[in-house]
């Protein structure tokens, strides 16, 4: 027999790296994150400068909200395994919660912190549903039966086998909250709610500055959402570890 020593992590990375859309999306997000601090200090540079300068105020709250949604959603999905159902989360995913989240700072005050918290809560059901499915599938896999049969203790079974195997799909599920969170932050800028930084957010630029900056902001919103979605799909493919045979 020929022994391939390629680890599952390497396999997952290669799966991600061989998807041009996922790579391009990741590259776009890196550029959008790295570029703004390097911009020359020249507000007269035009609409693109303004849009790029507004990137941290847009991606920052979106990333924070997505991370918080990931934590809440994963806990929700895990608890729903123990309590029996995920129906409530499933029903919430069909409601226009991002709209409500975008309006929350306008209604209740609290600025960016309120926007992040409301967005996290709005996006959490979208994480809870796939997290629940992932953990439920893991718990029912024959692998768990086989490992129990091989004498693996329950605590090791969870910490060493179930969670590491679930980590990839869970990360992909958490990433899934990023695009809706970004959309919510942009929406809040459009309606003048939430972030009030020096250069505003992409959403604020869409309605409150020149046509040139609005076009640039619209391009960045489109690119950001497309990049977040493409990376999410790449992660979902990469997370299917063990299915390469």
């Amino acid at each position: 027999m020929s022994v391939s020593e390629r680890s599952p992590l390497t396999t997952a990375f290669l799966r991600f790296a061989t998807r041009p859309s996922a790579l391009a999306g990741l590259l776009a997000l890196i550029v959008l994150t790295v570029l703004p601090p390097l911009l020359p200090d020249d507000p007269a540079a035009g609409g693109l400068w303004l849009a790029l300068a507004a990137t941290p105020a847009t991606l920052g709250p979106a990333a924070a909200a997505a991370l918080a949604a990931g934590i809440v959603g994963t806990l929700w999905g895990t608890l729903s395994i123990l309590t029996g159902g995920i129906e409530s989360a499933r029903r919430l995913t069909v409601l226009p919660l991002p709209m409500a989240a975008a309006m929350a700072p306008l209604l209740f005050g609290g600025g960016t912190a309120m926007l992040v918290a409301a967005t996290a809560l709005a996006c959490a059901p979208a994480v809870a549903v796939p997290a629940h499915a992932t953990l439920r599938l893991m718990a029912r896999r024959d692998l768990v039966i086989a490992l129990r049969g091989a004498g693996v203790r329950e605590d090791r079974l969870v910490s060493r086998h179930i969670l590491p195997n679930a980590a990839g799909p869970l990360f992909a599920a958490v990433w899934g909250a990023f695009a809706p969170a970004l959309f919510t932050v942009v929406l809040s800028g459009v309606i003048g709610s939430g972030t009030t930084y020096l250069f505003g957010t992409w959403g604020a630029l869409l309605t409150r500055h020149s046509a040139e900056s609005a076009v640039a902001a619209a391009v960045l919103v489109g690119a950001g959402l497309a990049a977040a979605t493409a990376v999410g799909k790449g992660l979902a493919v990469a997370a299917r570890v063990g299915e390469e045979r």
Partner: protein, 552 residues
């Protein structure tokens, strides 16, 4: 007189490489030929469905008339001279169209109105063993069970009376007994109508049972000639005793909030002596896997006892049971699901050793891993491999190595050969039998009588969670008395069973087998038959076990 079907020079090439060497076949009217074609190239070449990059050449004649190339083949399909049944025909049925609409697409030789089409459709369905009331032709394929969908697919293929039927392993994914009944219907149709039938598949697809001729491309496995040798010490007390075992699983709650249970195993009794072996034989849903899992306490029985060396495994605390796992190891049906894809094979075997053989110094574990891999038939280098990089057979042996590393006394195998090819399955079975000869007790769950007859010194045939026949393999092979046992043994012999229909056999009064049993009598509906002794070590649960010749 011209043969009904004549294929000459069928060749498939991948660039310069020959994938299928030149093949000639001639079929007479009413003849059924099975052709071993594991790659599935043969019929796809004729039908023009080859993957990109492959090319095929052939000449084909039907009743002496040439069919010219892929266009000619398509024309013959359209005019109904040829019918082609792909391997996934039952899944290819339009799920949301009523059956009557599916039959309207059939290339009828003579035009027919809707009423006539319905009549012909019913006749074709009945011929394939699916009796439907006239209004039931409004049923959609999606509403039918898989066996019924296969019957519909074959009825559609045969309805217009094609001269030639080409089929890729029809009903391959069904239980052997159900598949056998469907194939028998197909064979009867061919002989009645004089159609030539060319079937392709591989060993284990059950095609040999109806074929007049087998084109030997791949050697068929030697069916019943491997025998488990008796290593049992008759003076020993039973090592494992099972009494009145019941396993039930919760399936939801009733309106009052009470938990509803499905009984998967009920009233099972047996024992295994030291070094002995037993096989659980049954169709899908018979409970054999659940019984195997219950023995390793991977499913919790709700009643009864499993006594292992004086301890009742049903009630021992979890910590005690973990200690007993060194004695009782479990082999899963899916070799890839037995191993964690994230860790190397060697690491996983060492983990098992650390848990179950804490007496073994860590420095010695690598040597034990190496020895276990070699005993299981793998090279020591397999320890470095990650499971996804292994083949199914290698993964199955890696799982076996993990089980053997802790030096168990009993190995519970839950359909260990199910996901392997014929040759790999034979080889793994030989390894298991060798281990059994050396004293390892073996429990072996399978749906193939061929493996059960070879693997065990006692066989329990299960249906609907109950033991319906319990006998040594020689007696079961020679004189099976329960209709299900007879059907399963017939399949192992390569003949067709007389069992009809399918089902798990749960619920209802009377004998659960009676809707499928060809010898069912009115009294069979009165009560379920008890398991009664009919020989020194032969038990059967059938009201009519003594009616008719057991050897027919």
């Amino acid at each position: 007189m011209s043969p009904r079907l004549e294929i000459t020079g069928l060749t498939v090439r991948d660039g310069r490489e020959t994938v299928l060497a030149s093949t000639d076949l001639t079929l007479a009217a009413g003849e059924i030929v099975a052709c071993a074609d594991p790659g599935g190239m043969m019929l796809r070449a004729l039908a023009g469905f080859l993957p990109r990059g492959l090319s095929a050449g052939w000449t084909l004649r039907i009743d002496g008339t040439p069919v010219e190339g892929a266009a000619g083949f398509a024309e013959a399909l359209k005019t109904g001279r040829i019918a082609f049944v792909p391997w996934n025909a039952e899944r290819a049925l339009s799920p949301h169209l009523p059956l009557s609409a599916l039959f309207e697409e059939v290339p009828w030789e003579t035009p027919a109105g809707p009423g006539e089409i319905q009549r012909r459709a019913r006749a074709a369905l009945v011929r394939m063993g699916l009796s439907l009331e006239p209004e039931k032709l409004a049923v959609r394929a999606a509403e039918l069970a898989r066996p019924a969908r296969w019957r519909v697919a074959l009825a559609l293929a045969t309805a217009a009376g094609p001269r030639v039927l080409l089929a890729e392993a029809p009903a391959r994914d069904l239980d052997g007994t159900v598949r056998g009944a469907i194939l028998a219907r197909l064979a009867a149709w061919a002989r009645d109508t004089g159609a030539a039938v060319l079937l392709t598949g591989q060993g284990g697809d059950g095609l040999a049972a109806i074929a007049d001729r087998i084109v030997p491309v791949q050697e068929e496995p030697s069916d019943l000639n491997i025998r488990s040798e008796d290593a049992t010490d008759p003076d020993d007390q039973p090592r494992l005793t099972v009494r009145d075992l019941r396993v039930a699983v919760p399936v939801g709650r009733s309106l009052t909030g009470a938990v509803r249970w499905l009984t998967v195993i009920d009233g099972v009794n047996f024992e295994i002596d030291r070094g002995g072996s037993i096989a659980f034989l049954g169709e899908s849903g018979s409970g054999k896997s659940m019984l195997a899992r219950a023995l390793a306490r991977l499913a919790r029985p709700t009643r009864g006892t499993i006594t292992w060396r004086g301890k009742n495994l049903v009630t021992v605390p979890n910590e005690t049971m973990r200690g007993l796992r060194r004695d009782i190891q479990f082999l899963s049906s899916d070799p890839f699901e037995a191993l964690d894809p994230l860790y190397r094979v060697g690491t996983q075997i060492e983990e098992s050793l650390a848990e179950l053989r804490p007496d073994l110094p860590p420095a010695e574990r690598a040597g034990v891993v190496r020895a276990a891999l070699e005993t299981a038939g793998l090279a020591a280098s397999a320890a470095r491999a990650f499971p996804p990089s292994l083949t199914a057979a290698e993964a199955a042996r890696a799982g076996l190595a993990r089980a053997l590393a802790v030096e168990p006394e009993l190995l519970v195998c839950d359909e260990p050969l199910a996901k392997l090819g014929e040759e790999e399955a034979e080889a793994l079975l030989a390894t298991l039998l060798d281990l059994n000869r050396k004293g390892l007790m073996l429990v072996f769950a399978t749906e193939h009588a061929r493996w059960a007859l070879a693997a065990a010194r006692r066989i329990l045939v299960l249906h609907g969670g109950h033991v319906v026949e319990d006998a040594p393999p020689v007696e079961l092979e020679r004189d099976a008395r329960h209709p299900l046992s007879r059907a399963l043994v017939a399949l192992a012999r390569g003949t067709v069973s007389d069992l009809e229909g399918d089902g798990t056999g749960r619920g209802g009064r009377g004998c659960p087998m009676r809707p499928r049993c060809p010898k069912s009598q009115a009294y069979c509906a009165n009560s379920p038959p008890p398991l009664e002794r009919i020989g020194s070590s032969h038990f059967v649960a059938c009201h009519g076990w003594d009616e008719g010749d057991g050897d027919e």
